[in-house]
Amino acid sequence: MLRQLTWLALLLIPFLAAPCLADEEAEDAKESRWRLGAALGYGIRSNPLVQSDDIPIVVDLDIAWFGERFFFDNGDLGLTFADNNTFTASVVARINSDRVFFGNTDTRFVDFDLAGLPLVAAVDFKPPDRDYAIELGVEVLTDGDWGALQFNAFHDVSGTHEGFELYADYSYGWRAQRLYIEPSFGASFKSADLNNYYWGVTPEEAGLVAFPYEADAGVNWHVRLMFGYQLSRHWAFSLVAEYERLNDEATASPIIEEQKVLGYFTGFAYRF
């Protein structure tokens, strides 16, 4: 019942927002409510799963709309309930990002078992599939001369993993006219339910080459460095590199072979 009500609430958000959007559009003509952009270049995000391919990044689209209360930011839907000189707080609905790794897996024939001993006949093995989860949570943003902080607390509302995530990120940007450098770092706590859904292996999924595994809660860490150079009003050159260390509980899973997720992208971004 709770699940159905949550879905109903998510479906109703755009309709509830519509009258507010009309009012908001007339208010501020200075800064466009839209943020539209596209980046073309090359990059990858490594895939920590066994028998998987890295995720190539060639195009990055940026589609966002920010009203006084409601906003849409590249798939995230938000309702801002507090905004003052100190912080901005919103309720946000989003799609969980852990699922992305499961879209780039391969079936391979394996001829050794869990102990590394040869099998009589090769068996096919593919990392198990996982679903996208819709999560609802609270986001708090604060900033100052000291930098910017972001806190998120999200809970699954789609009945997919039924867990939660707490996320914090700190960033500080330096600008020297066209040049912009922004390092950031942070952590995210993944609950046992969330961790186990994505990185656990059920007895049904286990076989000769993967043992059943139950993951507990854990903390992922990340650092990121962004370098940007503004070429003109619309064009910028961007270079971004990111390192994420998965929690030990996830790394111990038989479907994980790398504890780190590395990513980079370099290219030219156009902002409309």
Binding site: D60, D73, G75, D83
Partner: protein, 132 residues
């Protein structure tokens, strides 16, 4: 009568040379982009202004900031100037001839504000990639 005919022949030629001056005047300004943010809300910059004309003459450089010319050159066909300014919004430099009315060439400096008062525009999303 001969004088009138001479004048009649010279006037179109004079106006043609003015038009030619307008067409052949080039004005370049560097830099043409100034970037501001919340920590640096204005640009303190030195703008290098260079102009060149096909015809030698009396030319003046103006900006949006003042009714009086920044500088005038007499009997010149090229000129350069370094102009120190603190700017917060877009503005233009332009060249005029002696009448100081018609703009022979215009160059615009754009001021681009990178930060927003809306914190949500800087929020980090957790997508495959995120350039925000």
């Amino acid at each position: 009568m001969r004088l009138l005919i001479t004048l009649a022949l010279l006037l179109p030629a004079l106006s043609m040379s003015e038009a030619a001056a307008a067409e052949d005047m080039t004005l370049t300004v560097k830099p043409v982009l100034c970037i501001t943010d919340n920590l640096t809300p204005s640009c303190d910059m030195s703008f290098l202004v260079v102009w060149q004309s096909a015809l030698t003459g009396y030319y003046c450089l103006f900006t949006d900031f003042d009714d009086a010319p920044v500088h005038c050159w007499n009997e010149e066909r090229t000129g350069r100037l370094s102009d120190e300014r603190t700017v917060r919004k877009n503005f233009s430099y332009w060249m005029t001839d002696q009448d100081q009315i018609s703009r022979l060439a215009v160059a615009t400096v754009e001021v681009l504000r990178m930060d927003s008062d809306d914190r949500r525009r800087k929020r980090r999303t957790r997508h495959v990639w995120d350039l925000n």
